[in-house]
């Protein structure tokens, strides 16, 4: 081949390389501008700016009564308000759209007095909007209607007053009104086009949705009519906008945070947490939330129907090892069958790791060598690792097991049908009163027919204690009842709990006040940036 031919061939190769460079040149100006420069944090609140938040779940709808996924719920909380709201930690209740309320002495009638608030389109929030929204939440088609089964009537007394009458006293009711499904929508906007509301919501919250690109991103813009004031006496939010990006791959979220594309990320894998925490200019958020990682047990199937066998599983499980190897030390070993919520009793003793005692309980149960099927949602590496460790630990005391991986839908189908032995999974709560979850999990006969959230666990004493805790408004009594419930159910071997798992987030040092509240979301109206 002569020199000219070589040159021409190489020229073609270079042309291909140039074609590759052009897209970089197009974006070069933009990429230079995107590089974050300021690393200095300011002590005083600074207003303005756009926070770019990367999440691993996308919102499916902004209609409060539609979803049960956190991808939707956490952003719904930024756009709407409820009558009463979780406080800054998520554990207590504070006034929301209701500036005050009265409860009748018999605990049946709640009267809410609305504050002067407006939706993001300037419409005033009235009792008509409230009754409309709560009627929708209580409608049987709403997945969270079970929280409002005690509601008898919802009435608009006047334009600024709403009266709710219950069928029976229910202390947890106020917390139910703070759940995402009870967010107040603009009735006129919804009725004008119900199908469009989930895409173009109108709420009274700190932000409004100005762009919703499914599978890509959501742009939240400050609501100019928002009524809450910040530390500087001016209305919040401090930020102008929040760009919420859907980034399902955890490595991509972490790389994006490191290179400045994202200001904050959620869903930090435990394996990456220490590395991120030791990175300059990046802070790790480890926040206590209502989240429990545990082993579901099907108490309907032998040998799991025998309490001795369930206790044997607990004594044979080295939770400290799992906390170290799977969760990299983040979290605490649970002494409960529910997440750590209000009225959690720290005095309930932990079931220790004790293989010898496990063998004794195993012998009492008369275990005949049945292989226990450990169900794991497919593609969930940490849960698979837990299952593998359980298999090894149980094998050491003589319990046979096998791991079965199924996709989420198929696995959940088996759990609901009762066609499972044990499943490695987790549970969270959107309500800050313990009644909802404790009843769901601990009461076989509760409304909804989930039979103890598909555990088929039965204990009449627990059912009676739950009813008492629900009816009394005395905090000390409630604490006593829930303490007893926690001890009984936990020591019945209801499940094998692994971790009160914290929420793991990470953010650049120029981001302030970004933290996860107990229910799992963040109060973005309190976040500000110094850059």
């Amino acid at each position: 081949m002569d020199k000219d031919s070589c040159k021409r061939i190489l020229g073609l190769v270079l042309l291909a390389a140039v074609m590759a460079v052009i897209p970089a040149a197009v974006g070069a100006c933009g990429s230079a501008a995107q590089t974050t420069a300021s690393k200095t944090a300011s002590a005083a609140v600074t207003r303005g700016g756009d926070l770019t938040l990367a999440r691993f779940q996308e919102p499916l709808t902004f209609d409060p009564v539609g979803p049960s996924d956190n991808g939707s719920i956490y952003l719904i909380e930024q756009v709407f308000n409820t009558l009463v709201e979780p406080d800054q930690t998520g554990n207590g209740l504070v006034p929301g759209l209701a500036e005050k309320w009265d409860i009748s002495p018999n605990g049946l009638v709640y009267t809410f007095h609305l504050q002067s608030a407006k939706f993001s389109n300037g419409d005033p929030v009235t009792s008509a909007d409230v009754t409309f929204s709560l009627d929708r939440a209580a409608n049987p088609k709403c997945p969270y209607a079970f929280l409002f089964v005690d509601v008898k009537t919802i009435q608009a007394v006047d334009a600024n007053t709403v009266r709710i009458t219950l069928k029976a006293p229910s202390t947890p009711f106020l917390s139910s009104l703070a759940v995402f499904a009870a967010n107040i929508v603009d009735k006129a906007v919804y009725e004008a086009n119900p199908k469009a509301f989930g895409n173009k919501p109108v709420g009274s919250g700190p932000f409004m949705v100005t762009k919703y690109s499914r599978g890509n991103e959501v742009l939240l813009t400050r609501n100019p009519y928002y009524w809450k004031l910040g530390a500087d006496g001016k209305p919040v939010p401090y930020l102008d906008t929040v760009t919420v990006k859907y980034v399902p791959e955890s490595n991509s979220r972490i790389l994006g945070l490191r290179n400045g594309t994202f200001d904050a990320i959620e869903g930090v894998p435990f394996s990456e947490a220490k590395s991120l925490a030791s990175t300059s200019d990046i802070s790790l958020g480890v926040d206590s939330v209502y989240n429990l990682d545990y082993l579901y047990i099907n108490h309907q199937k032998a040998p799991l129907s025998d309490k001795n066998f369930d206790l044997a599983l607990n004594y044979a499980t080295d939770r400290q090892a799992i906390l170290h190897t799977v969760f990299f030390g983040y979290g605490t070993i649970p002494n409960s069958f529910t997440p750590k919520m209000n009225f959690w009793d720290k005095s309930v003793s932990l079931i220790p790791y004790d293989p010898a005692t496990a063998k004794q309980y195993l012998a009492k149960s008369g275990y005949g060598g049945t292989t226990i099927q450990i169900l794991v949602p497919a593609g969930d590496a940490p849960r698979l690792q837990i299952a593998e460790e359980l298999q090894q630990m149980w094998s050491a005391v003589g319990i046979k097991s096998a791991i079965q991986q199924l996709d989420i839908g198929a696995a959940w189908n088996k759990v609901v049908a009762g066609d499972y032995d044990v499943e490695v999974n987790m549970i969270t709560s959107d309500v800050n009163d313990p009644d909802e979850l404790a009843t769901f999990e601990g009461d076989y006969w509760a409304v909804g027919d989930s039979h103890g959230f598909y555990s088929r666990y039965k204990n009449r004493e627990v059912t009676d204690l739950l009813a008492k805790a629900r009816e009394t408004s005395n905090a000390q009594e409630r604490a006593s009842y829930y303490g007893q419930i926690q001890k009984i159910v936990y020591w019945d071997g209801y499940s094998v709990p692994f971790n009160f798992t914290p929420a793991m987030t990470a953010y650049s040092d120029h981001v302030h006040n970004f933290r996860t509240v107990a229910e799992g979301w963040w109060w973005l109206d309190q976040v500000w940036m110094s850059k």
Binding site: D2, G215, P248
Partner: protein, 313 residues
């Protein structure tokens, strides 16, 4: 005119195939365990709520009636409403088809731009170090899982060099070109090795032909011989391989879309299957089937464009 007639005929032939695909997909979905309403409501909803929602989505009707309703609505351009996202399926699919088609086209373009010069260089320097280097390099990138290759590209060009963004697909045509360069490069580096191998073999075979000897004897320059006489005759098998692999990639972009957070059809498919969002799955099956058939049709049309001896029809 012949090309137009052929194209119209192929498009019409796609219709019964699409109908058959939807029927098979519908039947297979019934075999999947898991109820979309139970999954959607997270297990806390009462039986009354679940029954009400099942009725709303027509899931309480017999399977054959559900399919007939679907066909009737589809003939009116209505692919139903997504159970998961509560928006029309057609709207969801139309929003996501753009990124996927752009990604595939861009990736194919990069693959072709890499393939042609590298194949020619490799064939003209057969069994020399440069030939071995191209073939070994191709084997390395082909063997890498696309997930890992994507992350390596992000690490180098996104994190270290800050040359390209690492997520999303940008705004406007130039924005898409910029944002999708790395994922398209990942696709191109996967496709190119197969194409280089095929084209290189075809080029070497054809350079042995008598008419090529005759061209050399006439004094034509090697580059001119290669581009004008050898390349076009060697392209047909490579176009076939390209067509088959693009068809496979139509459904296989989900890994690249996930790594680079591109809002395409692949991600939507995975989400729909996990949540048993039946209407969206059927909508996607129709789109994927259509795209694969269009790619095959374009491959057939390209044969006629490359080789005048090939007759359409």
């Amino acid at each position: 005119m012949r090309v137009i007639g052929y194209t119209v005929r192929r498009l019409v032939e796609m219709i019964p195939v699409l109908v058959g695909i939807t029927l098979v997909a519908f039947l297979f979905m019934q075999l999947l365990p898991g109820d979309p309403i139970t999954i959607l409501t997270g297990g806390k909803a009462s039986p009354q709520t679940i029954a009400a929602l099942r009725a709303e989505y027509g899931l309480n009707k017999p399977v054959y009636m559900q399919y007939l309703f679907f066909v009737r609505n589809a003939l009116h351009g209505n692919l139903g409403t997504s159970i998961l996202q509560q928006v029309p399926v057609a709207q969801l699919v139309l929003q996501r088809v753009g990124p996927t088609v752009f990604l595939l086209s861009y990736g194919t373009l990069i693959a072709v731009l890499l393939t042609v010069p590298l194949s020619i260089l490799s064939a003209m320097r057969a069994d020399r170090p440069i030939d071995h280097g191209i073939r070994i390099g191709g084997m390395v990138t082909f063997a890498m899982p696309s997930f890992w290759l994507g992350l390596l590209l992000i690490l180098l060009f996104g994190l270290k060099l800050h040359w390209f963004p690492i997520a999303g697909w940008g705004e406007g045509f130039l924005g898409h070109l910029y944002y999708l360069f790395l994922p398209s490069l990942a696709i191109g580096l996967f496709l190119a090795p197969m194409l280089v191998q095929s084209l290189r073999s075809s080029l070497l075979e054809i350079t042995e032909a008598e008419y090529i000897e005759a061209a050399r004897a006439k004094g034509l320059k090697p580059t001119r011989i290669m581009v004008k006489h050898v390349l076009r005759n060697a392209l047909i098998p490579t176009v076939t391989i390209l067509g088959v692999n693009i068809g496979w990639l139509v459904g296989g972009t989900v890994v690249i879309e996930t790594v680079f957070s591109i809002p395409g059809l692949g991600q939507l498919l995975i989400q729909s299957v996990l949540y048993r969002d039946y209407p969206t799955i059927i909508g996607l099956v129709i789109v994927f089937g259509f795209l694969v058939m269009v790619v095959n049709m374009l491959a057939d049309l390209s044969y006629a464009a490359i080789d005048p001896r090939v007759e359409l029809g």
